[in-house]
């Protein structure tokens, strides 16, 4: 069984439990073992505006913790995935930076080696486990549903940093949805930001961005939104009501993690996918799915 260290990051591990629960339920069905480790901190990406060296140091220590166990890393949060990938790129290529990181990490008796690879859930499902293997486990296809996909800025850009998906028109989530039996039409607002990174400084405007994208999705008649970032989910799902107020719209868009959709298509009980924690009207999806499966 393939094993990965789960790097949970701050947002998933402190509030976005639906993502963690669903991926821990779904991945073992696909033959992947997820290992929890002690000692992690923030990846540093949310603090990049404060001090970029801090970001590098925090990411380096988190990678070092996984390397000590000899495990590759699953970072389900796109921000974490970017911070860890960028840090790895810098430390693997710049001996001076590596030396600086080494002296910081020595305080906790940690050492960066450069031996662990870093993956996102989309890599895992699409490329490593593979679409065929996912398809084999589908027992309740998500027929008749059409999702707007949202990847999260940090997963698609900057392409120079080797992101898991294409920067202008990512398609991997679309292909995953396809093997689950669901549709996913293109929409012009697809590459737009959820507004989340602005939340600490301009909360109102941040929610306006969220509301604008959700309204576009709603107006184009999608059954819901499928995503793979805990920050984006926090904006589009947890804060959907407030976001609607900022754009003067009554929003009713079911928002689900791709891992929750995979679980539903596998016929897994919604209670094991953390679906009670989605605050958007996901019952519509669950209801339709039960009919389709019946």
């Amino acid at each position: 069984m393939a094993r990965y260290a789960l790097f949970p990051g701050c947002v998933m591990s402190t509030e976005q439990y639906g993502y963690e629960v669903s991926l821990k339920t779904v991945l073992p069905v696909l033959g992947v073992e997820i290992v929890d480790l002690e000692g992690f901190s923030c990846c540093g990406e949310p603090l990049k505006s404060i001090n970029q060296m801090l970001t590098l140091t925090l990411s380096a220590r988190n990678i070092a913790i996984c390397e000590k166990e000899g495990l590759d890393i699953l970072a389900p949060c796109p921000l974490c995935h970017l911070a860890l990938s960028e840090t790895k790129r810098i430390l693997d290529n710049d001996p001076k930076m590596r030396e600086r990181a080494a002296s910081s990490l020595a305080n906790e008796e940690l050492k960066y080696r450069g031996t662990s690879k870093i993956y996102h859930i989309i890599d895992l499902l699409h490329d490593i486990i593979g679409l065929e293997a996912v398809k084999e486990k589908v027992v309740r296809p998500l027929s008749g549903l059409n999702f707007a996909t949202h990847y999260g800025c940090h997963l698609i850009r900057p392409s120079e940093m080797g992101r898991p998906v294409d920067s202008e028109n990512p398609q991997k989530m679309e292909r995953i949805l396809e093997v689950l039996g669901a549709g996913s039409a293109h929409y012009p607002e697809k590459p737009d930001c959820c507004g989340g990174p602005l939340l600490p400084v301009h909360p109102e405007t941040s929610l306006t961005k969220t509301g604008q994208k959700l309204k576009a999705v709603q107006d184009q008649g999608f059954s819901g939104m499928s995503l793979c970032c805990p920050w984006c989910h926090k904006m589009f799902d947890s804060k959907q009501k407030k976001a609607g107020e900022t754009v003067g719209a009554k929003l009713n868009v079911p928002v689900l993690y791709i891992t929750q959709l995979v679980g539903l298509a596998f016929g897994i009980d919604p209670g094991k996918l953390g679906l009670e924690l989605n605050l958007s009207p996901v019952d519509r999806i669950l209801g339709g799915q039960e009919e389709a499966g019946a």
Binding site: C10, G39, I50, M53, L54, E108, E168, L199, T205, L277
Partner: protein, 175 residues
């Protein structure tokens, strides 16, 4: 040391200023050679319509060497770090990286850190994570903890004091 005084950290970071300045000078040389002010970065900028951020103007001001003005302006804090400007620039300039460097310099110069960034930083330095573990709501209006969701306790730095040492060496490092 359990509570970290952010002001003293800003002072300690004075040593960092020179490094960030050098980073900005390098960026300045790069943009001076490459940016031809086509405005493509601004036309796709996520913060442009709502907050009037104009990345091509940030680049132009840096080109002119107006770093102090930029560091003191609130506009640098409107960037959403969506990386579209970097992705779409035909000249491989990265306004987003210039903005990160400017914000870093503002902080290292002891300017007040805006909004919730202060709380996030404080929490990260004390507990390792930008926020505390939360009890969350269900759609039916009940509450759930990590434990109730069947999840193991949140992973955190095992020895907070040593962890703080790791971070403080960054903040106080002399380059």
């Amino acid at each position: 040391m359990s509570v970290i005084d952010l002001n003293s950290m800003a002072e300690a970071q004075a040593a960092d200023r020179q490094e960030i300045n050098e980073r900005l000078q390098r960026l300045r040389e790069e943009v001076s050679d490459h940016c031809y002010q086509c405005g493509k970065c601004t036309s796709g900028c996520e913060a442009h319509k709502l907050l009037e951020l104009e990345p091509h103007r940030i680049v132009a001001l840096l080109k002119k060497g107006l770093i102090d003005e930029l560091v003191n302006s609130d506009i640098i804090w409107t960037c959403m770090s969506c990386f579209k400007c970097k992705e779409r620039c035909p000249q491989k300039v990265a306004p987003v990286n210039i903005l990160f460097a400017l914000k870093n310099l503002a902080v290292a110069s002891g300017k007040q850190i805006p909004g919730d960034f202060t709380a996030m930083l404080q929490s990260a330095m004390e507990k390792g994570l930008i926020q505390d573990v939360q009890q969350v709501n269900t759609r039916a209006g009940e509450t759930r903890t990590r434990e109730q969701m069947g999840l193991s306790p949140c992973s955190k730095p095992e020895d907070p004091e040593k962890f703080q040492m790791t971070i403080m060496t960054v903040a106080m490092e002399k380059v």
